[in-house]
C-alpha cells in the first residue's frame, strides 16, 4: 500500500479494499518501526490522525468524499497546527502549541486528508542539510550517513522512506527542491503567492513559498491542488484561479522549448550529476522537446544576493521571539534586556544566530545601501535574466543540486560551503518563479535531481513535463533499501 500512488490509494479506498483508518494505521506503523533511523518526524499525531481517518471513512460512506479524502500526509513543522506543537525545529518554539491552523493546514484538512504529524527541518528553515534542528539531524533513507538536504529534510526523508505518501514543505532558497533531489523525490516550489503563507512561520517573507513533496509529479499535482489558492489573509497571495494541475498532466510535450542555462553546467557541478542531467534532457528531446542553450548571466550573483536579502528579512521576522508571549523564556531574567538576550540566545541555534546577525548588519545604519539596497538591485538583474530567457523558451532545465547527498557533518563547519549547495535553486526564489525537482538517476546509489524552472504560474506545465518524463522513466519508483 505504501508504494502506491495517491490515485491508486484513492481507488482502493473507493473500492473499499482498504479504509482510511487501516491506511493510517499502516503508515503510523511504518513511522513507529522505521523513523528511528531517520528522525524525520518531530511530532506524530496518531490519535488525531486516526480520528481524521475515521471521519474520512464516514464521508466516503456518505458519498461525500473528494479525491484526497482519507489520504495520509504530513506537514513540515513550519506550518502552524491548532493544538499541536509547531516547533520550526527550534528550541525557541519547542514549547509553542499553535493556537491556530495555517491556511495550508486548513485547506489540506478541508480536502479530507489525514495528517500523520509534523516533520523535522533545519531550524527556522535555515539550512541545506536538516542538521540544525533542535531535535537532531534527519538522515537520508538512501544512506543514513548522509543528509537528506534541507531545510525540509524531514518531509523529504519521510516521503522517500514511504512513511507517508506526500508531505508539505517550504522553499526559501531551495528547501523543497534540493531535499527532493537528494532523496529521489518530486518537489515543487510554486510561483511566489500561489500558496498562502498565512500560518507558515516566516523565514524570509519575500522568498518563502510552500509546496508539495511527492514520489511522482502526479501525486505532487494532487497535493498542490489542495494547497494552492487565494487567501485574503496573505497580502502577497494572488487572486487568480488555480489551474487544473491533474488535468494537465497528460498534455504532449511536442514542441516544448527547453532552455539549458549554460551557467548551470559550469564549474562546481559534479560531472556525474551533469551526465545524469544531460541524459534526462535527451529523454525530454525524445518526448518532442526542442532544446537550446540560453544564458542567465547574473546566475553567480544569486547566492550573494540571497545571503543579504534572506538574513535581512529573517533578522526582522525573528525579532518577535522575545520570551514574552510564547516560546522559550530564560529562567529568572534579571531585567528586560536580560530576558531578551538570554531567551533568544538559548532559544536559537548557531546558524539562526549567524543569519540574524548578518541581516542585522546588512540593514544597519551606514550599510543599508551597500548591502540591502544593492542586493535588491542585483535581484532585479537576476529576475530580468529569467524574463529574457522565458521570451525564448518555455522551461529551463538543469541540475537541482551540484552534488548528491553529502555526509552528515561534512559542511557544518563552513557556512559558506553549505550555502553553495543551493547555487542552482536560489535564483528561482529571488525571481519568485516556480520550479520542480524530478528524480533523474543515481550516482553511486544516491539520487540525482533534475530541475525544471518555468515562467510565472506555469506549475501545471512543470507538473506536465514531470509526469511525461516519469511515464518514460522509473527513477521515481526506486525505493531506498530497507524501506521497501
Amino acid at each position: 500500500m505504501h508504494n502506491r500512488s495517491i490515485a491508486e490509494i484513492a481507488a482502493a479506498l473507493d473500492r473499499r479494499e482498504v479504509s482510511s483508518e487501516e491506511l493510517t494505521r499502516h503508515f503510523l506503523g511504518r513511522i513507529a518501526r522505521l523513523d528511528g533511523q531517520l528522525n524525520s518526524f518531530v511530532t506524530v499525531t496518531g490519535e488525531q490522525a486516526l480520528s481524521q481517518a475515521r471521519e474520512a471513512d464516514r464521508r466516503r460512506a456518505a458519498g461525500a468524499a473528494g479525491p484526497l479524502t482519507g489520504i495520509p500526509m504530513a506537514h513540515k513543522d513550519i506550518f502552524c497546527t491548532l493544538g499541536v506543537r509547531t516547533s520550526c525545529g527550534s528550541r525557541m518554539l519547542d514549547p509553542f502549541v499553535a493556537p491556530y491552523d495555517a491556511t495550508v493546514v486548513e485547506r489540506v484538512a478541508a480536502a479530507g486528508m489525514v495528517t500523520l504529524g509534523k516533520t523535522n527541518m533545519d531550524e527556522f528553515a535555515m539550512g541545506s542539510s536538516s542538521e540544525t534542528s533542535f531535535y537532531g539531524p534527519v538522515r537520508n533513507p538512501w544512506d543514513p550517513g548522509r543528509v537528506p538536504g534541507g531545510s525540509s529534510g524531514g518531509s523529504a526523508a519521510a516521503v522517500a522512506a514511504r512513511l507517508v505518501p506526500v508531505a508539505t514543505g517550504t522553499d526559501t532558497g531551495g528547501s523543497i527542491r534540493q531535499p527532493a533531489a537528494l532523496t529521489g523525490l518530486t518537489g515543487l516550489k510554486p510561483t511566489y503567492g500561489r500558496v498562502s503563507r498565512y500560518g507558515m512561520v516566516a523565514f524570509a517573507s519575500s522568498l518563502d513559498q510552500g509546496g508539495p513533496f511527492a514520489r511522482s509529479a502526479e501525486d505532487a499535482a494532487w497535493l498542490l491542488s489542495a494547497m494552492a489558492g487565494f487567501d485574503p489573509r496573505d497580502s502577497t497571495s494572488l487572486d487568480r484561479p488555480v489551474d487544473d494541475y491533474v488535468g494537465a498532466l497528460e498534455a504532449p510535450l511536442d514542441g516544448l522549448r527547453v532552455g539549458l542555462p549554460k551557467e548551470y553546467f559550469g564549474e562546481g557541478l559534479d560531472p556525474r550529476v551533469s551526465a545524469v542531467v544531460e541524459a534526462a534532457v535527451r529523454e525530454l528531446e525524445g518526448l518532442g522537446a526542442r532544446v537550446r542553450e540560453v544564458s542567465l548571466p547574473n546566475s553567480s550573483l544569486a547566492v550573494p544576493v540571497y545571503y543579504v536579502v534572506a538574513p535581512a528579512e529573517c533578522s526582522s521576522n525573528l525579532s518577535r521571539y522575545d520570551g514574552v508571549r510564547y516560546g522559550h523564556r530564560c529562567a529568572e531574567p534579571k531585567g528586560l534586556e536580560d530576558l531578551y538576550k538570554r531567551s533568544r540566545s538559548e532559544g536559537f541555534g548557531a546558524e539562526v544566530k549567524r543569519r540574524i546577525m548578518i541581516g542585522t548588519y546588512a540593514l544597519s545604519a551606514g550599510y543599508y545601501d551597500a548591502y540591502y539596497l544593492k542586493a535588491q538591485q542585483v535581484r532585479r538583474l537576476i529576475a530580468d535574466d529569467f524574463r529574457r530567457a522565458f521570451a525564448e523558451v518555455d522551461v529551463l532545465v538543469g541540475p537541482t543540486s551540484p552534488s548528491t547527498a553529502f555526509r552528515l557533518g561534512e559542511k557544518t563547519s563552513d557556512p559558506v560551503q553549505m550555502y553553495l549547495s543551493d547555487i542552482y535553486t536560489i535564483a528561482v526564489n529571488l525571481a519568485g518563479l516556480p520550479a520542480i525537482a524530478l528524480p533523474a538517476g543515481f550516482v553511486d546509489g544516491l539520487p540525482v535531481g533534475l530541475q525544471v524552472i518555468g515562467d510565472y504560474f506555469s506549475e501545471a506545465r512543470l507538473l506536465n513535463v514531470g509526469h511525461r518524463y516519469q511515464q518514460l522513466t522509473d527513477w521515481h519508483q526506486r525505493v531506498p533499501p530497507g524501506f521497501e
Binding site: F96, P99, L301, V308, V324, S364, Q377, A383
Partner: protein
C-alpha cells in the same frame, strides 16, 4: 570587509543576542566569510536599477474595515510563559 570583535558585539546587541566571550572570534570569522561572499555584489553596476523588494509586481490589496476577530485571550495565553490578570508579564520597564 572583515568585522572586528567590537562590530560583532554591537550587532549582537542590536539583535538582542548574548554571545559568550569565547564565541566571538568564531562569529567574527564566520560572519566575515559570509560578508566576503556577498562582497562581489559591490562590483556589479546597478546604476538606475530599481530595487526589487517583492518577486511580483503586484499592489497591496485592501481589507474592508470590519471587525472579524473575537476574544481568544485564553487560548492565546495558554501558550504564554508568564501572565497574570490577562497581562503578559515582563521584568520592570523603566521609561
Amino acid at each position: 570587509m572583515p568585522l572586528s570583535g567590537k562590530d560583532v558585539e554591537n550587532i549582537a546587541h542590536l539583535a538582542r543576542l548574548a554571545l559568550a566571550e569565547e564565541d566571538i572570534p568564531r562569529y567574527v570569522r564566520e560572519l566575515s566569510s559570509i560578508l566576503n561572499l556577498v562582497e562581489q555584489l559591490q562590483r556589479v553596476d546597478t546604476e538606475g536599477v530599481p530595487p526589487m523588494a517583492h518577486p511580483l509586481d503586484a499592489h497591496q490589496r485592501l481589507r474592508p474595515d470590519a471587525v472579524t476577530e473575537t476574544d481568544q485571550r485564553e487560548l492565546f495565553q495558554s501558550t504564554a510563559p508568564l501572565t497574570e490578570a490577562g497581562l503578559y508579564l515582563v521584568p520592570r520597564v523603566i521609561e
